[in-house]
């Protein structure tokens, strides 16, 4: 026994160990875009994660200061491109609320349905990528099969598949297509069959469970302190769904549950998003038969000027609590236009989550906080 102790001390003297740095990114399969993380590693164990941002910084906030409010809507598409509709909606709602424009129920309901479809498309893509990050490559194709149907609905409705630009101030750019209701209903029937398949493929896979359960645990207090939001925060039991907290558009008219879990680990974050897809279908089902006949666009002034003052509008995008903060001096351009992006806030928790975990866990954590890099860099 004593001999062994001596031996170990001898070895510790002879063998020098040290922490080392690893650059993950800017080009790396797990960073989902152009982002770099400087990892401080001890063998496989992560000691510190420092994100290096700005590889796709396009100074959208600065551009907004020189653009009119109508133009700003189209810039927001390029923030979180997977929830482009909700981003558009945030700006339109901000301007409408500031000007006191009350849109009719038809517009509200259509906006909500499209927003929920976008949320589902975003979560589907995330599900596929999550599988890829853990090594199951097939999920990506399955997710894209179902996502394609949503994209087709979007294409038919407004001509674009991803960055739709469907919202304008005071309404919608076009009326919905005649097939819209029929195709959305078809999609819901199709997806209700496929979503349990997702669950069987990944959620019930023992390796996947082992990889995610108990990994990257965040408590509710930590989540609040780090300013995290969206499904990532709801997995730790933080009630932060803006759709419930400050209902906008048609969310006040529907009855749905805010998906909450208390474990706070990667599997909870995964499961929250899966359950949110069920809730999205629930919302759409409640609204799809209730679209009233009405105008799809309200009358607005040709040049939109916001009154002097500060305005804040929050919406729930697929990633979380997206805030648009505008400072206006009464002119047609804002003096300051700030996007409070949910991905940027969520990224902040990554270091805490990944403390003393393995490289494989970092990839899982990064995947489950579901950031979109253009949303971080803006």
């Amino acid at each position: 026994m004593e001999n062994q102790m001596e031996n170990q001390e001898f070895l510790a003297d002879k063998i020098r160990t040290q922490e080392y740095q690893l650059n993950m990114g800017p080009q790396h399969p797990a960073t989902h875009g152009v982002m770099r993380m400087i990892l401080q590693l001890d063998g496989e164990e992560i000691k510190n994660v420092e994100p290096v941002l700005g590889y796709i910084h396009r100074s959208i906030e600065k551009m907004c200061e020189k653009s009119s409010y109508k133009q700003i809507i189209h810039l927001t598409d390029r923030l979180d491109y997977l929830s482009s509709h909700m981003n558009n909606e945030a700006v339109t709602l901000l301007v409408e609320n500031a000007l006191g424009i009350e849109v009719n129920d038809r517009i509200k309901i259509i906006r909500t349905i499209i927003a929920e479809l976008t949320r589902m498309a975003s979560h589907q893509l995330w599900w596929g990528v999550m599988g890829m990050d853990t090594g199951a490559l097939t999920t990506f194709m399955y997710a894209f099969r179902d996502r394609e149907l949503i994209n087709e609905i979007m294409e038919e409705t407004c001509g674009a598949r991803l960055t739709m630009n469907y919202n304008i101030i005071g309404g919608l750019r076009y009326d919905i297509h005649d097939n819209f209701v029929k195709r959305v209903k078809e999609f819901i029937v199709h997806f209700k069959e496929k979503l349990p398949e997702y669950d069987n493929l990944l959620s019930n896979n023992v390796i996947f469970r082992k990889r995610t359960e108990g990994v990257g645990i965040m408590t509710k207090e930590q989540v609040i302190a780090y300013g995290m939001n969206g499904p990532t925060a709801r997995a730790s039991g933080f009630e932060c769904d803006i759709r419930k907290k400050l209902p906008y558009s048609a969310y006040g008219m529907v009855d749905f549950e805010e998906v909450l879990r208390t474990e706070g680990d990667a599997f909870a974050r995964y499961k929250v998003r899966i359950d949110e897809m069920w809730q999205s279908m629930n919302i759409i089902e409640q609204l799809i038969d209730k679209i009233p006949e009405d105008d799809f666009r309200m009358k607005t002034k040709p040049i939109i000027k916001l009154p002097k003052g500060d305005f804040l509008q929050r919406v729930e995008t697929a990633r979380g609590d997206f805030g648009v903060y505008a400072m206006s001096d009464g002119g047609k351009n804002p003096t300051r236009f700030k996007f409070r992006s949910p991905s940027f806030a969520n990224l902040h928790g990554l270091n805490k989550m990944s403390e003393n975990t393995k490289i494989g866990d970092l990839v899982v954590n990064f995947s489950t906080i579901d950031v979109v890099v253009p949303d971080i860099d803006r």
């Binding site: 609040i224 933080f238 907290k245 903060y325």
Partner: protein
């Protein structure tokens, strides 16, 4: 807590606060820079206010002044307050960091530093988070000129 109640509570703390009048969405408070960390700590610790969620931290260039706007929310009471600090010092703008009160400020303060050159005292790691380390000037300031900007009118 309602806007008015919050205002009367904050007035009782006597911290030289200026309340912005008019039809504002939330209670907007202008704080002297040196009172910022004291007020922040109090807002977070007092059980009546319990502002524990830093929603957004925005650097602003008002033209003459530089400032920071804090949107702070309470997860227990579901109310929001807007704090504003300003300084007329454009050479070396300087505020206290709120990173130790709301860790969420960590990246956001770096962002404000990167775009406006606003320094935050006691911030553990203030870097140019988006721009290059050797970038000259503060790009989001109103007086920043960029000869390559195609949007200038």
């Amino acid at each position: 807590m309602k806007k008015e109640e919050l205002q009367s509570l904050l007035e009782s703390w006597s911290l030289d606060l200026t309340f912005i009048e008019g039809e504002t969405q939330f209670l907007e408070v202008e704080v002297p820079a040196e009172k910022l960390s004291e007020l922040s700590l109090k807002l977070k610790e007092e059980s009546d206010t319990a502002f524990d969620y830093l929603f957004a931290l925005t650097g602003v260039d008002y033209g003459k002044d530089l400032g920071v706007v804090y949107h702070i929310e309470s997860t227990t009471h579901n109310h929001m307050i807007v704090l504003k600090v300003k300084t007329s010092d454009r050479e070396n703008p300087n505020f206290d960091s709120v990173n130790d009160i709301w860790p969420a400020a960590y990246f956001n303060e770096s962002e404000a530093y990167d775009f406006f050159g606003i320094k935050f005292n006691n911030h553990p790691h203030l870097t140019r988070i988006f721009m290059d380390e050797d970038w000259k000037g503060w790009p989001m300031r109103k007086d920043y000129t960029d000869e390559f900007n195609m949007l200038t009118r």
